[in-house]
Structure formats: structure tokens, C-alpha cells
């Protein structure tokens, strides 16, 4: 299923260039996806697909086999938690980075158990880019009180 860049899901072609990191962006908030479409290409990231829910994310990852996926966790139809094993099954070489507004102990423990990098949403994409490249493990924020 291919849809335009602004669609809920599908293959896209934002910021393509030789040697760029090929990434799929998954978030149910269209404006978060818009922001990532603007933030990531100047950092050498080629967005090869987008999805607004976990089920579409699995399909897009299977179709595009990206280097990495930015994955929101709370999403309709299929959550990010549920999508992680399915993405690993269909695109085993794809690095998954969980990207969420805040993370309680359950989320931190779950991501550690699944060996998934966790990055808190920020207006600055540098931590996210580092995690997508796997150059530097995403900094684990201090545990909540």
C-alpha cells in the first residue's frame, strides 16, 4: 500500500540520498510525523515510509526493510508494544527506537527487556538521530519518582 508522504501510512521518499540512513516513522499524531519529516532529512536520514498505527507499521517495515524505525508506543489498532515482535519477525535487521512523550517504570523495564532503545520526545532530534544510528545508546532518563 503506497500513499503520499502526508498519508497515514505507506512508502514515502522524504530526504533521499546516497548512504543516508533509511528510516520508517511511526506515530499516530500527524504533526509529530510532520516534524520528523522536517527534522530528520538534514541529519542524513531518508524517510522511506510512515505509519499511523502499529499494524500499518509492520506492513511498511516489511515492504521497505528500513535500517531503523521510529516507533511511538501508544497507538490505535496495534500498539507499539505489540508491533515490536511483529516488526522483528518481518524485518529482523531493522533497529527499533521507541519514541514516547514520557516513560514510566513499566515502559522502561519493557523496552530494556525487549532490548529496544528508548528516547523521550523532544523538540531537538539529536538524541533520536543518535539512537537511530545506534552510535550511542539512547540516554535513559532518570526514573520517575
Amino acid at each position: 500500500m503506497a500513499r503520499p508522504v502526508n498519508g497515514q501510512g505507506g512508502a514515502t521518499g522524504s530526504g533521499g540520498s546516497e548512504g543516508a540512513l533509511r528510516v520508517v516513522v511511526v506515530d499516530d499524531e500527524p504533526d509529530v510525523r510532520l516534524l520528523l519529516r522536517l527534522q530528520l532529512p538534514p541529519e542524513g536520514v531518508h524517510i522511506v515510509g510512515e505509519a499511523g498505527d502499529g499494524a500499518t507499521a509492520v506492513q511498511v517495515c516489511q515492504a521497505t526493510r528500513p535500517d531503523a524505525v521510529v516507533l511511538d508506543l501508544l497507538m490505535p489498532i496495534m500498539t507499539g508494544f505489540e508491533a515490536i515482535p511483529a516488526i522483528r519477525e518481518h524485518a529482523p535487521d531493522t533497529r527499533i527506537v521507541a519514541y514516547t512523550a514520557s516513560a514510566g517504570q513499566f515502559v522502561r523495564d519493557k523496552m530494556a527487556e525487549l532490548d529496544v532503545a528508548l528516547v523521550l520526545k523532544s523538540g531537538d532530534a539529536s538524541d533520536l538521530v543518535a539512537a537511530l544510528r545506534g552510535e550511542d545508546p539512547a540516554e535513559q532518563p532518570a526514573s520517575p519518582a
Partner: protein, 232 residues
């Protein structure tokens, strides 16, 4: 002698502390996404290479996201019983079908089939009926596979607006809780962000107009959210 079944002061304090942390956690999470998005979008406007089309898109997203923050704060105030965030002005004749269409468009970006008494009118403060209906339609979209239809009927001196969704319905144990502030169903917590205030706010604004909001499971499966508003 004290009541042996009454909770101790320590238990009550611990429960209040847990509640405080849960509320702050939910509020923090819900505000953090739009605020970080706003910051990131605003910084994009500083880029020299941002074309006109992208700049327009960013401006539009900033307006949309700021409206969302405004709505979240209003919802928090209404749910906390702060009357300053309730709709103001005198009740005016408000076409119900028009309010349904406007609420659906704002909440979900599309308008479901509206059936029944399409000429029904109620007395409502400006924007009030839309604010009552919007969370019902947003919930149908987020958890119920979308609103199958919205039905407007006149029943025993009340205008009844029923939002019928395509989802699995609400677990029996949760039916009576869904209008409680900060309540979120077991599945809802995992599948969508949210404060758990939508129906509580809808009920508060409805109450300002002697109207009511309720949610039940329909005969054909799916949830039915109903607003009953006194006919003028």
C-alpha cells in the same frame, strides 16, 4: 473507639499520594507531546532552506497543536470543577445536526452519517453542544473503529443524540466509570494517548444545561454514547 473498617490516616495519605502521582503522570505525558512538537515546529521556522509550502504546513501544525494544548488545559479546569473554563454567554438556539457535523470534523477530521430529526434545535451556550459532542465522537474514532452513525431523536421532551460506533463495546465493569475524571479503560491506556477527561468534561458542560451524558453497549455490538438535552 475508632471504626475498625475506616482507613487509617496513613492509608488515606498513601492513596492520595498515588492518585496525585497518577494524575501528574497523565497530565505530564499529555502536555509533553504537543509542547515538544510546538518547540520543534517553531525551530523549523528558523531554517533558511524551508520553502513556502513547508512553512505554511508548519504554521498550520503550530496553530493545530496550540489549540490542542488550549483544549487540554480547558478540559483539566472543567474536570477539576473550575467554572471559569465552562462555556459562557446566554443559551441560544443551536441546530443539533450542525453541531454534530462541526464536532466530528474538529475531533476526527470527518463527518459520519447523521440520521433522524435533522432539524432539531436545543438551547445551548455558544460552542457548548459542540464541546459535549466532540469527545463522544473522538472516542468512537479512537476506540470504536469510528462512528457508524449519529442519530438525533426527540424523546419525551428531550433531544437525544446517540453516537453509535463499530467497536467491540465497553467491558461491563467499565461502563459506569467512563464519565469519571481521569478514568481510562484497560485497552484505552495502551491504544491512544489521552487524559481520560473527555466524557467527564462533556458531562460537566451538559450538566450546565440540565442535559446528561451516558455510555452503554448497543444491541448490535459497539458502544452507544448518548446525550439527552432538554427540548426548548
Amino acid at each position: 473507639m475508632g471504626d475498625a473498617t475506616a482507613p487509617s490516616v496513613e492509608d488515606t495519605a498513601a492513596q492520595l499520594d498515588l492518585l496525585r502521582r497518577r494524575v501528574l503522570n497523565v497530565v505530564g505525558h499529555e502536555l509533553r507531546t504537543p509542547i515538544t512538537t510546538l518547540r520543534g515546529l517553531a525551530e523549523q521556522l528558523d531554517r533558511r532552506d524551508l520553502g513556502d509550502e513547508a512553512a505554511f504546513e508548519v504554521h498550520d501544525a503550530i496553530r493545530r497543536t496550540a489549540r490542542r494544548v488550549e483544549g487540554l488545559v480547558d478540559d483539566l479546569l472543567v474536570a477539576a470543577g473550575v467554572s471559569t473554563a465552562l462555556p459562557v454567554g446566554e443559551p441560544v438556539p443551536t441546530p443539533v445536526a450542525g453541531a454534530v457535523a462541526e464536532a466530528a470534523d474538529r475531533a476526527t477530521g470527518s463527518v459520519p452519517t447523521i440520521e433522524g430529526d435533522l432539524d432539531a434545535v436545543v438551547l445551548a451556550r455558544p460552542g457548548a453542544l459542540r464541546r459535549v459532542l466532540a469527545p463522544l465522537l473522538a472516542n468512537a474514532s479512537a476506540y470504536g473503529g469510528g462512528a457508524e452513525s449519529v442519530r438525533i431523536d426527540m424523546v419525551e421532551g428531550e433531544v437525544v443524540v446517540a453516537v453509535i460506533d463499530r467497536g467491540p463495546g465497553i467491558p461491563a465493569a467499565e461502563v459506569g466509570l467512563v464519565t469519571e475524571p481521569f478514568f481510562r479503560g484497560e485497552r484505552a491506556v495502551m491504544t491512544a494517548a489521552g487524559l481520560g477527561l473527555g466524557l467527564a468534561v462533556a458531562a460537566a458542560i451538559a450538566g450546565q444545561h440540565a442535559a446528561t451524558v451516558s455510555v452503554s453497549n448497543g444491541d448490535g455490538g459497539g458502544a452507544v454514547a448518548e446525550v439527552r438535552w432538554p427540548a426548548p
